[in-house]
Symmetry: C3
Subunit: 209 residues, 3 copies
């Protein structure tokens, strides 16, 4: 039987893969290139996490991620025009993916006996590193370093997980709450256009000075 | 005694290192930078594979890859003018390298007990990921995502390996056949200019729509 | 009690993180992005080394590197104007970091039983790979491939380590000498503007030919 988490995992993978494939299409990648970028976007974060934790990456244990990426590719090829206008739907699933991947990354690391501060970083890596790999592949400055609250939402969710765990909440409560915290942080940040301050570059001081 | 496979492995490493060093020279890298890019091109794919499989990378077990890259560097420094006009020879050895690295990647993964679909991916990574790392280092969009049948040839070879293995062929037959399949797929694709279709970007739909 | 090496380690981490944060600020990264780039610059080399050696990365065992990067970020945010004019101080600590990280990388690899030629590569990776990751993140061609003696200094230090070890010097003597060799090689190279030759690109031969 397929559990609720597996459905969310599939939806998140699909959304992440689609985001990679869409950006690859803007750079005129061929189908194979788009597939690889989509796949790397979907599984890159979890793979980096598993390499750091010293375990075998999840996608090497089940072909579901390969299949899911293939479906995302067919979807973009067949319905490209609509996919491009479905920004809200894709944003929704991308945020679901981010939330879920973060929670999975945290639980996974805690289960392996790592302390909470490592687990929060691993949760953020699971959620956000795939997008960084995607942006390196398409030769752009990683988006998450410049715009929007993205990986920061993972950290917020991770900290809530930690606090709830400290005051004795069950794993399940921690996970659900952390997931919602990531989702809502991202939603609120995008809705109200909340950004982190940017650093002033050398130019700024030269002009002033 | 040096086996036939070791000779091919050396030739493939040399061809891959040369391809990295040539591209580095177009970007005016210094000798050290060119060496590092050449080395990363040659061993990058196998290293990523071994990290994913959880074993120690091959190049850490024998200095032959370091020496081979050094020879490639000397060769480009001394005969740069000729190397640049030897496109066909380099293409030949690069394709030999691709074929051999793919077969090595597949056999290696099967030997460690991974299923066939993982082994095919690992074969493709062994053959093609070095070129991706090279292109990231020289700050270009990875070539294999945009042009020619390259990593796709690894997948074709991998699928043939699988089919032959399913119908009971010996390991040796599978390996030789898969290697030739990679080589010939690449040759035919380049000779007849066969490409995968590219994805249509947002511009396309905007212009049409 | 805090040892002398730990103080140097902290100073080196701080200098590396600052170099990442400064370059991120030139690209208008937000605080979070700058923090991630600074952190990756500081721990990237050691992390790649530990992944290759098959052990858990050092920064996952103590939060000191996270804290140190946070201090570097606060420092740049608060004193940006001064940080930008402190080129000499930063150069000094960056070279200290490079020397120390190289020696740590070599000792670490030897302790795990790897041969000397692997250890020297690991020392160079520990010292220089963080800067490569930084440059990939900010979408520039890695500086160390094009300019200055940088990773080459690590190799010089590593070779001295090897020679001293071969003639029977104590570990401590080897480490101190190798560290100074890295530091002085870098200093002398920058002071007298010593560069490695660059490779001639295709243009050169076309123009000549």
């Amino acid at each position: 039987m397929v559990s609720f988490v597996q459905v969310l995992d599939f939806a998140g993978t699909f959304a992440f893969a689609t985001s990679g494939i869409r950006l690859a299409s803007a750079k005129r990648f061929d189908w194979f290139g788009a597939y690889v970028v989509g796949f790397a976007t979907a599984i890159g974060g979890g793979t980096l996490r598993d390499i750091l934790l010293g375990v075998t990456p999840a996608w090497m244990q089940s072909p579901i991620y390969l299949i899911c990426t293939a479906l995302a590719l067919f979807w973009v090829i067949a319905f490209g025009k609509y996919v491009i206008t479905m920004n809200n739907t894709i944003f929704f699933f991308d945020s679901v993916g981010l939330s879920l991947f973060t929670v999975v990354g945290i639980s996974h690391s805690l289960m392996l006996g790592f302390p909470f501060w490592v687990a929060i970083i691993m949760g953020s890596i699971t959620g956000a590193a795939g997008g960084v790999i995607r942006d390196v592949f398409i030769n752009e400055i990683p988006l998450i370093f410049r715009k929007e609250i993205y990986a920061m939402a993972c950290v917020v969710g991770g900290l809530l997980y930690w606090i709830l765990s400290l005051i004795g909440m069950s794993d399940f409560t921690c996970q659900i709450s952390a997931g919602f915290a990531v989702f809502i942080t991202r939603l609120v940040a995008v809705r109200f256009n909340i950004c982190l301050p940017t650093l002033k570059g050398e130019d700024y001081y030269k002009k002033k000075g």
